[in-house]
Symmetry: C2
Subunit: 331 residues, 2 copies
């Protein structure tokens, strides 16, 4: 007898993205796809923004977290304790999903997590557990939780259910704009771009799928080019706080088979892109979301006249530490 496929540790397929979309229907915000005449004129492209900054908890992460718990529930599990580690958005998302479905939730976050993201987790009724920055410390603290309290892990990106859930944003975007020439998203652990690539390959086979990450956190670009997964021992000091982690094993498999390229952009370009999005498109996006926008503004996503889709991954920004606002806000 064959072993059943592990629903968490196997590389997901498009069928799982489609199943996630069915599961999430009516439970997540079908976020708007926005365009900007100003940005189209500036870039010479037709740009389509999938606004996951307007998703529940202000980030696409809610899709993957909720899909994981709904999948668990459908497999007959009684509600218990779920745990994760997170730079902030996945933690808030899992806390929210757990509350929706009657699970308890524990979230480990590094001490340098932004105040806005800590507040976002607390707003879901969960007090974040602080650890030292870096994947090793995060995993150690989470492992302790799992051992001591019998929690189930919902990993922020190395989980097929999570990746499939993240792919539903691209699925919705491609259902609305089937003729995309390029689809792009930021790359941290790689769950969003991996899930997006599954949707693109199935729904728009000609569409190029391009990940973008900060130069300071270029592990996915180096892994992609070198054919071997590399990571950072200590988190790189990019402003894009959601992208400080290294690419996961499952996402890396998806990158190898379904992703066309991984680009990198400078910190200065990330800040400039945030400001352009705010001033020209009236949209507040977090630094991590500005990373593909930065590549677009540098003319590196698509060719003139092409249709470029970008997933704006989140909008949880502390105005008081927003880089181009010089850290000065008044109440």
């Amino acid at each position: 007898m064959l072993n059943p496929i592990d629903p968490i540790r196997s590389v997901p397929t498009f069928a799982e993205v489609a199943a996630a979309a069915d599961r999430l229907q009516g439970r997540v915000v079908r976020t708007p796809v926005l365009r900007s005449a100003r940005l189209d004129a500036r870039t010479g492209r037709r740009v389509f923004f999938k606004c996951e900054n307007l998703q529940q908890v202000g980030a696409f992460k809610y899709r993957g977290a909720l899909n994981a718990l709904l999948h668990r529930q459908a497999s007959g599990a009684a509600p218990g304790l779920v745990a994760t580690h997170s730079s902030g958005n996945h933690g808030a998302a899992l806390a929210r999903a757990a509350r929706e479905l009657g699970w308890d939730c524990a979230v480990v976050v590094p001490r340098d997590t932004s105040p806005a993201k800590l507040a976002n987790i607390r707003a879901q009724g969960v007090e974040p557990l602080l650890c030292e920055p870096g994947l090793a410390a995060r995993e150690a603290a989470t492992s302790r939780l799992i051992a001591e309290r019998g929690a189930e892990l919902v990993h922020p990106f190395d989980d097929a259910r999570v990746i499939a859930g993240q792919g539903t944003a691209a699925l919705e975007l491609l259902a609305e704009v089937p003729q995309l020439d390029v689809l792009s998203a930021p790359v941290g652990g790689g769950g969003l771009l991996g899930g997006s690539a599954l949707a693109a390959r199935a729904m728009a086979p000609e569409c190029r799928v391009i990940g973008v990450e900060p130069e300071l956190a270029d592990d996915a670009a180096r892994s992609f080019r070198g054919g071997e997964r590399v990571g950072f021992a200590t988190p790189p000091p990019t402003l894009a706080d959601g992208l400080r982690g290294s690419i996961g094993a499952l996402p890396f498999e998806l990158f190898r088979s379904h992703v066309d390229d991984v680009l990198t952009v400078s910190e200065r370009a990330i800040v400039a892109a945030m400001r352009v999005m705010l001033e020209e498109c009236c949209l507040l996006i977090e630094p991590s979301s500005a990373v593909p926008v930065a590549a677009l503004l540098e003319g590196r996503l698509g060719a003139p006249g092409e249709a470029v889709g970008i997933i704006l991954s989140g909008g949880n920004v502390d105005l008081s530490v927003c880089p181009f606002l010089a850290g000065r806000t008044a109440s």
Copy 2:
């Protein structure tokens, strides 16, 4: 023989809003209607934002200006010179509409117009003509233009074609969300709320139509209560730079027959509302647009559980002078 109805100086009807919607179809952005789970939770209402900050030139004003020129064109006029006075957004809108249709355009703006709005006019290829602040100076400078250069006036709000065009935002909102209990918009000259009221009365007769203006610029509220149109001799010093003008004669007639109430809010509440929209909804709106949001946050629009529609009128903000960012930005 009866005189034909003056298409500019008569009080418009819903038929003219509907005709404007046909005329503008495919020429203006059908702006998205956005919701925010966070804001719904905070206010206890179901709130629907019609995002005219994402309209061409960043404001609803493009609807009215383009409708006026299209109407003129349909009546057989050859392209010539159009002129107007404006606190900024109507000027950019008319300049843009003129460029679209091959007219020349001249725009008079007061010296205290915000740099973002001046830049927005210049971006349409028109150099704004500066005058002293106040309606008298604006009208005098515009009259000179008309006399000297044979320009045709497209008034920012006292023009039936302009009011009908502005009403198309509410028409689109009500087509998408027919069950609104309350529809609200900011009030400056009153063209937006007047046109919106026409749409609401025809499409959702039970919907209450409520204007909101700054306490410092409460001419419409006083006019509405007193039954007689009053105005300001000098422009009031509200942050809501789009609402410093006084209510027009045609809008006032629409207010008397179709508007349920006009509320006022403090400057502090306007600033707080801008910040809430940015932090909780990821949307940058200009102070004028924050005025009805301020009334909502004070619990004064609709009752708990009701559906409240708000037209976010524009998003042209100077980040460098944004009040809650304390005037400090870095590049």
